[in-house]
């Protein structure tokens, strides 16, 4: 049975298939790149030199901050105003990339950052701006809990739902709302990160 919106109701006959780009939940083509980045990160930590550690921490941190801010405050509201087919097409193209990108960026930033802090002595409690460093731990902790508890599961679940022959719009709506709100929270936390990191960098 087709509703006035041209939507199939449960138990109705099969509909004309919605245009959904074919996608992999975890894009396998990106795995070698992730492996390469991780290998370089391990090497940077093992050699414990300033430049590679600084490089990974700054590049990873900048990417993490910019992606969170852009997703939470620019893309999120835009996605919310898109038509359903446009949203679905956008989601199927964006979210698989996020599955690989975000865990990689976060791991690189945190692992290199901790090693850099150890190298420079900024994680020591005797460091003059230790309070700011602890504040950064707390901000990262909040972001980690939100990202791991809400963002990542919602990301995967949306993609699994979209892989189904007949995705459920209620499920996608609920998960995408969760994803966008969680991205907004991490975006706000990233503003705090910017304040802390610029303070630490300027002394």
């Amino acid at each position: 049975m087709t509703s006035p919106l041209g939507v199939l109701e449960a138990g109705g006959p099969p509909a004309a298939a919605l245009e959904r780009p074919d996608f992999q939940i975890v894009p396998r083509a990106g795995l070698p790149m992730v492996a390469l980045v991780m290998a370089l990160l391990i090497t940077a930590i093992a050699v414990n030199k300033l430049w590679p550690l600084e490089f990974f921490h700054v590049v990873g941190g900048a990417a993490w901050t910019v992606i969170d801010l852009f997703l939470g405050f620019i893309l999120g509201p835009i996605i919310g105003r898109m038509s359903i087919p446009a949203r679905i097409e956008f989601t199927t193209r964006l979210m698989p990339k996020m599955v690989l990108l975000m865990p990689t960026v976060v791991t690189v930033t945190l692992a290199a950052g901790w090693q850099l802090g150890t190298h420079l002595g900024t994680v020591q409690s005797s460091y003059a701006l230790h309070g700011w460093v602890v504040a950064s731990f707390i901000v990262v902790g909040v972001m980690a809990v939100v990202a791991l508890g809400l963002l990542e599961p919602a990301n995967i679940a949306v993609l699994v739902e979209l892989k189904k022959p007949r995705p459920n719009p209620a499920v996608i709506e609920r998960l995408m709302k969760r994803f966008i709100y969680a991205a907004g929270v991490t975006g706000l936390m990233q503003v705090a990160t910017l304040v802390i990191m610029t303070k630490l960098a300027s002394g």
Binding site: V7, I45, V123, A157, A170
Partner: protein, 144 residues
């Protein structure tokens, strides 16, 4: 999304069909506890601090993980096959991430009690995140 698109089945949320325990909320509380334990330990470096607060936080986090799994095990009609399908791959990914963090601790000569607490915290992290991902996917699986 306010209106379904052509070709998408308009039906009620399958998650509403089965009464589910608050796995996500409990999981986030568990993660918050181990994060707090990690912050407590790392904020006092290189001083030796009493491990008791970190151990208490870790134990509470592990209890929440056990409680989450026990509560989930009692749900009838839960899509365990889908849960395991997703959770095992997530476990592989998060075990690798936990391994990376452990490597950094070892590289910096963390040892003794703090290393044990941090390692166990990473174990809870590496298990609980896949549980949350698997749960979120499985709760919307068909037939759940």
């Amino acid at each position: 999304m306010s209106e379904p698109a052509p070709g998408i089945v308009a039906e009620r949320d399958p998650a509403d069909a089965v009464s589910l325990p608050p796995v996500t909320q409990v999981g986030m509380a568990s993660l918050a506890l181990i994060v707090a334990a990690g912050i407590y330990l790392s904020a006092h470096l290189p001083k030796h601090v009493p491990l008791t607060p970190a151990v208490v936080l870790l134990a509470a986090s592990a209890l929440l993980l056990a409680g989450n799994l026990a509560a989930l095990a009692r749900v009838t009609g839960f899509a365990w096959q889908r849960f395991l399908q997703v959770a095992r791959w997530a476990l592989l990914a998060y075990a690798f991430i936990a391994g990376m963090i452990e490597y950094v601790f070892l590289r910096n000569h963390t040892s003794g009690g703090p290393l044990v607490v941090l390692t166990l915290a990473l174990v809870v992290f590496a298990v609980h995140v896949p549980v949350l991902i698997g749960f979120t996917v499985a709760r919307y699986a068909d037939g759940s």
